[in-house]
């Protein structure tokens, strides 16, 4: 459909493009004919009630799930057949809905695991501990410490990640995926369980990530949080895309109001 020249990396304006993607689990449709795209350098929200298929979309994009049909592309890369590690290496990082500390590793080591693909030294270099590798190791540790500082975790560098309080862990998880220097960052319910102060810090952090040119896809059902930070919003319900547009237009979309926002507004009015 497109000429060969337009699929070079960097030349396509859109980052992630889903076309007619479907996924069923044993007869239960989780995602049906989903099409939407996420531009780089934008904050994109994916909202919908529980069970709408949002997390399935993240699983499909990051290679942990395989689509039954449809096409998922990222720049010049066809993600349909790629493994999760290969997808991470072409510039898509993710966080998980559940808390995912690498227990038994310190906060600093968690960051260093995120830097794994940046190492030049291989197994043999590690085996004989070449001076080049030791130098690299020192440089990585310094950078990891700087990143912890930027995320407000400097004092926790030597704490086991499993002992960190939930709020700090969330920031550690985002820091760990950001050291991959991704072009696109997928956040699975990042605001869940955070207090107001932490959620505000998270918003600021996400805006900072966007300003470096990285695209961000936030999956959440916290509507105020998503509309507070996202420029573009996609709404899912029962595995289908209801709408995908500018945040302001989504807010006005009658179908979305009826299916999702409307009920929420009715509830707040009833409560007031």
């Amino acid at each position: 459909m497109t000429s060969a020249g337009t699929v070079e990396p960097g030349s396509t304006p859109e980052g992630l493009v889903l076309t007619q993607v479907s996924k069923a689990f044993g007869g239960v449709t989780a995602v049906k004919d989903a099409s939407f795209s996420v531009m780089l350098g934008q904050i994109h929200g994916l909202i919908g009630p529980n069970g709408a298929g949002k997390s399935t979309v993240i699983g499909l994009v990051t290679g942990f799930l395989r689509p039954d049909s449809g096409d998922i592309r990222f720049g010049a890369h066809d993600l349909n057949r790629m493994t999760p590690e290969a997808i991470a290496q072409v510039g898509i990082a993710r966080t998980f809905q559940k808390a995912t500390p690498l227990v038994g590793l310190t906060a600093l080591e968690n960051i260093l695991v995120g830097m794994h693909t940046r190492y030049h030294g291989g197994v043999l270099a590690a085996l004989v501990r070449t001076s080049a590798l030791r130098r690299e190791e020192r440089g990585m540790a310094e950078r990891a410490q700087m990143i912890l500082e930027r995320f407000g975790l400097a004092d926790d560098a030597n704490t086991d990640a499993g002992d960190l309080p939930f709020g700090k862990l969330r920031f550690l998880e985002i820091a760990r995926s950001m050291v991959l220097e991704p072009q696109l960052l997928l956040l699975d319910e990042p605001a869940a369980g955070l207090n107001r102060v932490e959620a505000a810090r998270l918003s600021a952090l996400i805006q900072g990530i966007r300003s470096t040119g990285t695209g961000v896809l936030i999956v959440d059902h916290d509507v105020p949080f998503v509309f507070g930070v996202c420029e573009q919003v996609t709404v899912m319900n029962l595995g289908q895309i209801l709408a995908s547009d500018h945040a302001a237009k989504i807010y006005e979309n009658p179908a979305v109001r009826e299916a999702y926002l409307g009920t929420q507004r009715a509830q707040t009015e009833a409560g007031a």
Partner: protein, 319 residues
């Protein structure tokens, strides 16, 4: 600490010159070498793998067959067997590691179960149940490694080499990748770590260590038979790693000392020996669930080894 203690004991045995203890400590070194391999797979990369006894058989039979039937130099036979074991580990690992967790464990357990049967069945190569006798011993510059002191030094040299491999890899990004895969494979993969490649690596490293231990044992005993590599062998290596402390560097060494030396020390108890050894093992499991050198630093209260009704009565006395 544990290393210092073991080092002191090792030197003391050498100076003391008792051939009996020197033999026992040689066996400790060989078991520890194979156990270090399992510790890397199980303790750090988190894979329940039963492959070690099969790869010890590759080393043992590789050395025996190459030495007797093809008259290959024993040193070369040992190295060649280790290379063969590494290749075998990759060939077995590529299909088996499509399975995860317990499923991989069960598949590799089949390998351990099948090893003695295979050795019995391949009689044209292995002489079946008779085994292979007259395996040429290792020699170097007029020194025969049948003598207690040279084999003692060689076995400990190999064991220390295995420790150095383990320690240097663990300190590096490779070790961190293993530990990340072990705690959460999905997170590791989402960070671009090729989990299957790193698991295969542990399998190959462990296979080389097991093969070297098997070769040294057979070249020292000058004899090999299928029943050495039966299911009991892999259970022993598991016992060593669990009792010593999986995921701790000194664990395999401490476990091997426990398994080999303790029964010798309580040998005078004769028929009660096994009973006392089992009781000690249960005490370790109850008091140090992660092994003697295990990561859980906290010691459980000693009264936990008592029966529950006694514990309850004790607690009532405190109230």
């Amino acid at each position: 600490m544990a290393f210092l203690l073991c080092g002191t004991v090792a030197v003391a045995v050498l100076v003391g010159g008792s051939p009996y203890w020197m033999y026992n400590m040689t066996v400790v070194a060989l078991f520890a070498t194979a156990a270090i391999g399992l510790n890397i797979m199980l303790g750090y990369a988190g894979q329940i793998s039963f492959t070690q006894s099969a790869f010890m058989a590759v080393g043992g039979y590789g050395s025996a067959i190459l030495g007797t039937k093809l008259a290959v130099d024993p040193w070369l036979a040992m190295i060649f067997s280790a290379v063969l074991a590494a290749i075998g580990a990759l060939l077995i690992g590529i299909p088996l590691l499509r399975l995860r967790g317990h499923y991989f464990g069960m598949a590799s357990f089949a390998l351990a179960l099948g090893t003695p049967s295979f050795l019995l069945a391949a009689a044209s190569l292995t002489n079946g149940p008779l085994g292979i006798a007259g395996v040429p011993p290792l020699r170097f510059a007029g020194v025969s490694f049948l003598d207690p002191i040279p084999i003692y030094l060689l076995a400990w040299g190999v064991c220390i080499g295995a420790f150095l491999v383990e320690i240097s890899l663990l300190k590096s990004h490779v070790g961190r990748a293993w530990r990340a895969i072990s705690t959460n494979q999905d997170v590791a993969r989402s960070l671009g770590i090729d989990a299957r490649k790193y698991k295969l690596l542990t399998l190959a490293i462990a296979a080389v260590m097991a093969s070297l231990a098997g070769s040294l044992y057979v070249e020292f005993q000058q004899y090999v038979a299928p029943d050495i590599f039966d299911i009991g062998l892999i259970m022993t290596i598991y016992l060593i790693v669990y009792a010593g402390g999986r995921g701790s560097i000194a664990g395999p060494l401490v476990g091997a000392v426990f398994y080999i030396v303790v029964p010798q020390l309580i040998g005078s108890l004769e028929q009660f020996q096994h009973l006392v050894f089992s009781a000690l093992l249960i005490a370790i499991i109850v008091l140090r669930p992660n092994g003697i050198m295990g990561r859980g630093r906290q010691y459980a209260p000693v009264e936990r080894i008592l029966p529950l009704w006694v514990q309850r009565r004790l607690r009532r006395d405190y109230d």
